[in-house]
C-alpha cells in the first residue's frame, strides 16, 4: 500500500534527519556519486549572487566557527566570499545522498595532520560516505569545489588576468623548478609567458593540495609539471568526446608510496576568464596500461536555486590533460 511506503519513507527521513524534518536540503538537487576515475567540479560565480536573503540562507548553514571566520574577514566582498566558499562545500557534499535527505548544516569538518580540511564522518549522523574527498579553491570571481570518491583531489582556480607584483621570471626563479624556469624563459612574448606561469601555478597548487601534506613537504621547486605538447582543442566539444590534448605530467613523481604515486591532471579554461586545475590520483592497478582519461562532470551552481551542467562550450575548454567531459544526469 502506498501509505505504508510513504510511512516507511517518512520514518527513514526522520531517522536520517534526527531533529529536523524540513531542511534547506530539500531544494538541493541530489546527484550520483562520482565513479572511479571520475571527478566532479562545482563552481559558483559570486557576482551572480546578489540576493541578500539567499546569502543569509547560506550563512545559516555554516557552523559557529565558520560564522566567526566570516566576521573576521575584512570588508563585505571578503565576507561574501567566505560565506559562499563554505556554503558551496556544504551544499555540494550534501547532494551525494544514498537514501536520506542530508542537512548541509550537519556536516562536520576536521583537518588532517598536515592541515588539509576533510569531512569528519564521526559526527555526521546516519550518513557515512567516508570515501568522499573534496577540495576547495577560490578567487574573487570564482569559487570551486572538487569531489571524488576514493581518490585524493586537489584543485586550484586562478583568474587569467591575474597580474603578479613581481616580474614573471623573477617569481619563477624564486619558486619554480629549473626545468620550469627554462621552459618559461623560452617564451618570448611576456603576456604568453605570464599566462603560462599562471597555468603552471594552478597545476602545482592542485598537485600539492591533492598530495595533502602541506607546501613545506612539497616545495614548488622540487617538482616539475609539464603540460606536454598542447594542441588547440575545439571550442565546441560534443559530450563524451575525448580531449585530444596531451597528458600533463609531474616529475619526479610522488615518492611517498611504495609504488610511486600516479597523479593525473586536468587543466580547464572556464568562462574564458579562469584557469582551473584538477589533480587526482590514478588507481595503481591502472598503471602501465597507458593513461586512462579522467571523467569529469562540470557544474555551475547557485546552491538552492539552480545547477547547470557544463558540457564543453565556450564556458569550459579543456586546455590540457586527458579528460572526458560527461553529461550530468
Amino acid at each position: 500500500m502506498s501509505s505504508l511506503l510513504d510511512k516507511a519513507r517518512l520514518m527513514m527521513n526522520i531517522h536520517c534527519l534526527g531533529r529536523n524534518l524540513v531542511t534547506a536540503s530539500s531544494s538541493l538537487h541530489h546527484v550520483q556519486l562520482p565513479g572511479q576515475k571520475e571527478a566532479h567540479f562545482w563552481y559558483v560565480l559570486p557576482d551572480e549572487i546578489k540576493d541578500t536573503n539567499l546569502l543569509n540562507q547560506y550563512f545559516e548553514i555554516l557552523s559557529p566557527s565558520e560564522k566567526e571566520n566570516v566576521f573576521r574577514m575584512s570588508g563585505e566582498q571578503l565576507k561574501k566570499r567566505a560565506i559562499l566558499a563554505r556554503a558551496l562545500v556544504r551544499t555540494t557534499l550534501a547532494r551525494y545522498q544514498t537514501n536520506c535527505q542530508i542537512d548541509p548544516k550537519a556536516l562536520r569538518f576536521k583537518k588532517n595532520s598536515y592541515g588539509k580540511p576533510e569531512v569528519d564522518w564521526q559526527y555526521t549522523e546516519d550518513w557515512s560516505l567516508p570515501q568522499l574527498h573534496f577540495n576547495l579553491s577560490h578567487t574573487s570571481s570564482l569559487i570551486a569545489c572538487g569531489v571524488t570518491v576514493g581518490s585524493p583531489i586537489g584543485i586550484d582556480v586562478e583568474e587569467k588576468q591575474r597580474r603578479l607584483k613581481n616580474d614573471v621570471l623573477a617569481f619563477a626563479r624564486r619558486y619554480f623548478s629549473p626545468d620550469e624556469i627554462e621552459m618559461l624563459t623560452q617564451i618570448a612574448d611576456p603576456e604568453l609567458r605570464r599566462l603560462e606561469l599562471i597555468k603552471l601555478w594552478t597545476l602545482k597548487e592542485a598537485y600539492v593540495k591533492a598530495v595533502g601534506k602541506g607546501f613545506s613537504n612539497s616545495p614548488f621547486n622540487t617538482f616539475t609539471v609539464r603540460l606536454g605538447h598542447r594542441t588547440k582543442t575545439g571550442i565546441h566539444l560534443r559530450p563524451r568526446v575525448m580531449s585530444k590534448a596531451q597528458e600533463i605530467t609531474v616529475e619526479p613523481p610522488d615518492e611517498s608510496k611504495n609504488v610511486s604515486g600516479n597523479w593525473q591532471f586536468v587543466l580547464l579554461e572556464l568562462d574564458g576568464s579562469h584557469y582551473a586545475a584538477i589533480c587526482i590520483e590514478q588507481e595503481s592497478t591502472n598503471r602501465g596500461k597507458g593513461s586512462i582519461p579522467v571523467n569529469l562532470k562540470l557544474r555551475k551552481t547557485i546552491p538552492f536555486v539552480e545547477d547547470e551542467c557544463i558540457l564543453g562550450t565556450e564556458k569550459a575548454v579543456v586546455i590540457s590533460g586527458l579528460t572526458t567531459l560527461l553529461e550530468c544526469e
Partner: protein
C-alpha cells in the same frame, strides 16, 4: 647628535668628539643625555631584556614595513587598517599573494625565507617576528 623618539634612543657616533653625547645612567630605567652642556629631559624607559631599546624600535619599524608590503601586494584601498594582528587571509590574500609577500619581504630585508617558515606565517606580526629573528641571526 643624539635623536630620540618616545620609545627609543639611537645614538650615532660622529667624528667630532665634542658632539658625542655623554649619557649618564641615573637609574636602571632612565637615561639623561647631555650634549654640549645642555641637558635633555631624562627619558623613562620601559623595562626590556638585555638589549637596549633599539630592539623595540626595530620591531615597530618591521611591522610597519610588513604592513606596507602587504597593503601594496593586496592593493588595499587607502585608509585600510592593517596592523600586527591582521591575518593575511582575512585581508583577502590567497596563496599566490602570500608567496609574493614573502618575496617582497625577502627583497626588502635582504633575507631568505625557508618554505617551512613561509608556511607558518599567517599574520603581519608573525612575519615581522620571523624577519627580526632572521636579521638577528644574520648579525650574530
Amino acid at each position: 647628535m643624539a635623536s630620540f623618539t618616545a620609545t627609543s634612543i639611537s645614538i650615532i657616533s660622529l667624528a667630532k668628539p665634542s658632539l658625542v653625547p655623554s649619557a649618564r645612567i641615573s637609574s636602571p630605567n632612565s637615561v639623561s643625555l647631555s650634549i654640549k652642556g645642555r641637558r635633555f629631559p631624562s627619558i623613562t624607559l620601559q623595562p626590556t631584556g638585555r638589549r637596549f631599546q633599539v630592539t623595540c624600535a626595530t620591531k615597530q619599524e618591521t611591522v610597519q614595513k610588513v604592513c606596507d608590503i602587504v597593503k601594496k601586494q593586496l592593493a588595499l584601498p587607502e585608509g585600510s587598517s592593517v596592523t600586527g594582528e591582521s591575518k593575511f587571509a582575512a585581508l583577502g590574500a590567497d596563496s599566490l599573494d602570500t608567496v609574493e609577500i614573502v618575496m617582497g619581504l625577502e627583497e626588502e630585508f635582504g633575507i631568505s625565507v625557508e618554505e617551512e617558515s613561509a608556511q607558518s606565517i599567517t599574520t603581519v606580526q608573525e612575519a615581522a617576528d620571523m624577519i627580526d629573528k632572521l636579521l638577528e641571526s644574520k648579525t650574530d
